[in-house]
């Protein structure tokens, strides 16, 4: 039964198209169904980021003089401020973690195969913006650790031929990391990156609705009939159970392990020992550390940057490259994926030793 308001709104918005679609939407049930839950988990953490982010900007000051002090104030004076910052920090890690899991499941299940190439490509951009969001947010507390991480991170693009110097200058707002960089990163973090994420998210989710849920390669090859359950309410209720669990874990971690805050960064001080970036950049950090100064005729870091660049481009076009997923080529790509995962995990563990 529709109430008067509902039909009044529907006459103007035409929302019944969407509600009808959601009522008819189904989700396949098979032994790999669990990966379908990772997408909405990302949305959950993204929503938490937006809400806690809105709250943090009420007190945060993106200036050289005020940044560290304002975060200290959030942690000590603002009522429940420490929980809000802690949740924001933990939820960022959770979001990145689920983005990575979501990506790996798509990669290994080869869900990017025709016609879902653009879903993958928009996803790669979402990954980049998620990482950028984490990277820019890391600087905002403005302590020694975040300053060094930003100096290194913004210097990496410098090795890209031609454009690199300008990328570094653009990110830093000048030659060096200064107060201008902090203000600029704040702008990236709270307005520019979120706008891009929203647009890409819109495209990504639209494509998924348009094309329906992807089936695993094995199920599709057998052409067997896969069991399906309605999206609403059956699947959504199951998702809500997952959300509840994740929220429990998130809040427990946020309350018992709040992020630290060091003294304000000094632009002229030497880098402190034991600096390291956020966990999702550790594999890169360790790679940069072990690469020698010169490999053949190239500086080690230039080689690393060029490799990352090439890997990124290959990664973006993967659906077009991996166009015969069930054949030998597809299997080689799967093995490559597994090798890269092992490499990243091994490097991360090494950096923690």
């Amino acid at each position: 039964m529709k109430t008067g308001i509902q039909s009044w709104l529907d006459e103007r918005f035409g929302l019944s198209i969407i509600t009808k679609f959601l009522k008819e939407k189904t989700v396949p049930q098979h032994k790999h169904s669990i990966w379908y839950y990772t997408g909405s988990a990302i949305l959950l953490f993204f929503t938490i980021q937006i809400i806690t982010g809105f709250m943090l900007v009420f007190y945060y000051k993106p200036t050289l003089e005020g940044a560290n002090e304002s975060v200290a104030r959030i942690m000590t004076e603002v009522p429940l401020g420490w929980i809000i910052r802690s949740v924001h920090s933990w939820s960022a890690s959770f979001m990145i973690a689920f983005v990575l899991i979501h990506l790996l499941s798509t990669w290994l299940a080869k869900s990017y195969r025709k016609p879902r190439e653009l879903t993958w490509m928009s996803g790669v951009f979402l990954l980049v913006f998620s990482l950028l969001s984490g990277f820019t947010g890391y600087l905002l507390p403005w302590d020694d650790l975040s300053l060094s991480a930003t100096k290194v991170g913004t210097d990496i693009p410098r090795s890209i031929p031609l454009a690199g110097v300008w990328v570094t200058k653009f990110l830093r707002g000048g030659e060096d990391v200064t107060g201008d960089t902090l203000t600029r990163f704040f702008g990236f973090h709270v307005s520019i990156i979120p706008v891009f994420i929203f647009i890409l998210l819109g495209v990504h989710i639209y494509l998924i609705q348009k094309q329906g849920m992807s089936l695993p390669l094995s199920a599709e090859l057998k052409k067997e009939k896969v069991k399906e359950i309605p999206f609403w309410p059956n699947f959504v209720y199951r998702e809500m159970i997952v959300w509840l669990l994740l929220l429990g874990i998130l809040f427990s971690l946020a309350i018992f392990f709040p992020p630290s805050l060091d003294k304000a960064a000094d632009l002229m001080a030497p880098a402190p020992e034991g600096i390291r970036p956020e966990w999702y950049f550790l594999f890169l950090f360790q790679t940069l550390k072990i690469l020698p100064a010169k490999i053949l005729f190239l500086p080690g870091d230039t080689l690393a940057v060029l490799l990352i660049l090439v890997a990124g481009i290959v990664f973006f076009f993967l659906p077009l490259i991996d166009n015969k997923p069930a054949e030998r080529k597809g299997k080689i790509i799967t093995i490559t994926a597994l090798v890269l995962i092992v490499y990243a995990v091994a490097m991360t563990v090494w950096s923690l030793l």
Partner: protein, 154 residues
């Protein structure tokens, strides 16, 4: 000579004209945007410090000074002359520290090492620390860029 067939149709010509005009318009909007996001470089041509502050420094430790937005490091050699460096690692731009006992410069970010003359001797740094020219004129210690080089070339 008159061509029998025109190379493009009237529509193509007009579309090209319109497209070109739109492109030029867009470029004229983009230009100020790009100019705006890159602030001017602030690296100084020279820094003048009071010599009195550095006259009595020993040859074991180093002293810092401000080189624009970067840390500068001044070191006195055994023969009494001075060496000046930009105290920034040539690997990925972290500030270096001077370890007195080992007489070496060290970058904690990725374990980079330089000897006391700023020469890269270990770890990932690809180049020696950037040197600056030091001269003493009366009561002033003047630190200059080496031979008109620009920061971008580093």
């Amino acid at each position: 000579m008159k061509l029998k067939h025109s190379l493009f149709t009237r529509r193509q010509f007009l579309n090209g004209l319109l497209g070109g005009w739109l492109g030029a318009l867009l470029a004229s909007f983009l230009y100020p945007v790009i100019k705006f996001v890159f602030p001017p470089t602030r690296e100084p041509d020279q820094v003048i410090l009071p010599f009195a502050d550095f006259r009595d420094m020993n040859t074991v430790s180093v002293k810092n000074f401000l080189w624009g937005t970067k840390p500068g490091i001044l070191k006195k050699k055994n023969d009494g002359s001075y060496l000046a460096f930009v105290g920034v690692c040539t690997h990925l731009d972290c500030n270096v520290s001077y370890l007195e006992e080992q007489r070496k410069f060290f970058c904690a970010c990725h374990d980079g090492w330089y000897d006391e003359n700023g020469l890269n001797i270990g770890g990932p740094p690809p180049k020696p620390l950037r040197r600056l020219l030091v001269s003493i004129e009366g009561e002033d210690l003047i630190i200059k860029r080496e031979g008109g080089e620009r920061a971008e070339d580093q």
